[in-house]
Symmetry: C2
Subunit: 191 residues, 2 copies
């Protein structure tokens, strides 16, 4: 049997009462229930507590400067793909999510990234900006993002109360992530 794909589900908000958390729990629950091909891990940037990028060397140099940057690089390196739970702040990317992306470099390369976004217009503009950034990080930003609307009153017991269409779209996103994740893992292994 093929080894499961390791997927990091990254919460793109550290705000108190963030909706990112119930949405992330919903994604994790759906993966646990429905996918035996994906091994998902929830990443809370609040616990990681990465500083605003402080080092003189750019992450692309690969010469990491402290234990936190090294540990974050190892965590990102361990994954075959990513799901970003992405709020939209002022038509752009939340700083905490952009900073996590900016903190390391090579570990993102040649891996797929899927977006589960929310906010005004379902986080559409945040996803467009994340698409530009993902390309520069040598990732494959996947089509078929979930743009969740009106999320603020749809929290139930720590989970997001998704409707049937959103559940189906999430499963489609898992399918795409699985296809790209396997394809690129095989290709990275082949060199």
């Amino acid at each position: 049997m093929t080894q499961k794909l390791k997927i990091l589900v990254i919460l793109g908000s550290v705000r108190e009462g963030r909706v990112a958390e119930p949405i992330g729990n919903w994604v994790m629950g759906a993966a646990d229930a429905d996918r035996d091909d994906l091994d998902c891990e929830l990443i809370d940037l609040k616990q990681w507590d990465l500083p605003f990028y402080p080092h003189p060397k750019p992450p692309a140099a690969g010469d990491y400067a402290d234990a936190k940057q090294i540990a974050w690089g190892e965590k990102v390196a361990s994954a075959d793909g990513f799901i970003l739970i992405a709020p939209e702040y002022n038509h752009g990317i939340p700083a905490v999510l952009k900073n996590a992306l900016d903190t390391v470099y090579a570990e993102w390369n040649r891996k797929p990234v899927a977006f589960v976004a929310y906010g005004g217009m379902g986080g559409a503009r945040a996803v467009e900006q994340l698409t530009m950034v993902s390309r520069e990080l040598q990732m494959a930003p996947l089509e078929g993002a979930l743009h969740l609307q009106g999320v603020w009153n749809r929290r139930e017991g720590g989970r997001f109360a998704a409707d049937t269409r959103e559940g189906a779209r999430l499963n489609h996103l898992f399918d795409e992530l699985a296809w790209w994740g396997k394809a690129l893992r095989n290709a990275r292994a082949a060199g």
Copy 2:
């Protein structure tokens, strides 16, 4: 005599050895030497040390939650316009600059913002993303941004060694900022 326009020159990087600092000093020096209509203040986000936006209420609600957010709002409110010294990180906005923009809201409204950018392609993509974000903050993002290229070896004694063309472009940006700053200050005062 008309009161000088108060302009904040915001350093968009907190990296050790940041080029933003000599570029900011160059901008400050040029304003001091050549402009009796602009009262510029250098803002170092490293000293402000704002946290990744943590509060449940969005800044647009205007109900600020702690002393730091209140103080940052007062500083932004004191200004008639802004010059952002903007690096480009992975084809996007540095997290520390995005976070400063995201931390307050009303205090940015109906004011002009000018960009002095650097990085690959002179920070062109960071400026495009900042344009989208500025519009959502109800600012006027000014045309005529400075896109500084090859900046890393052009530091001289804490200042950026600009060429004649760049000096002329900066003065043009000051002109634009003065025009928009006065127009909008008058209009805000009129209600």
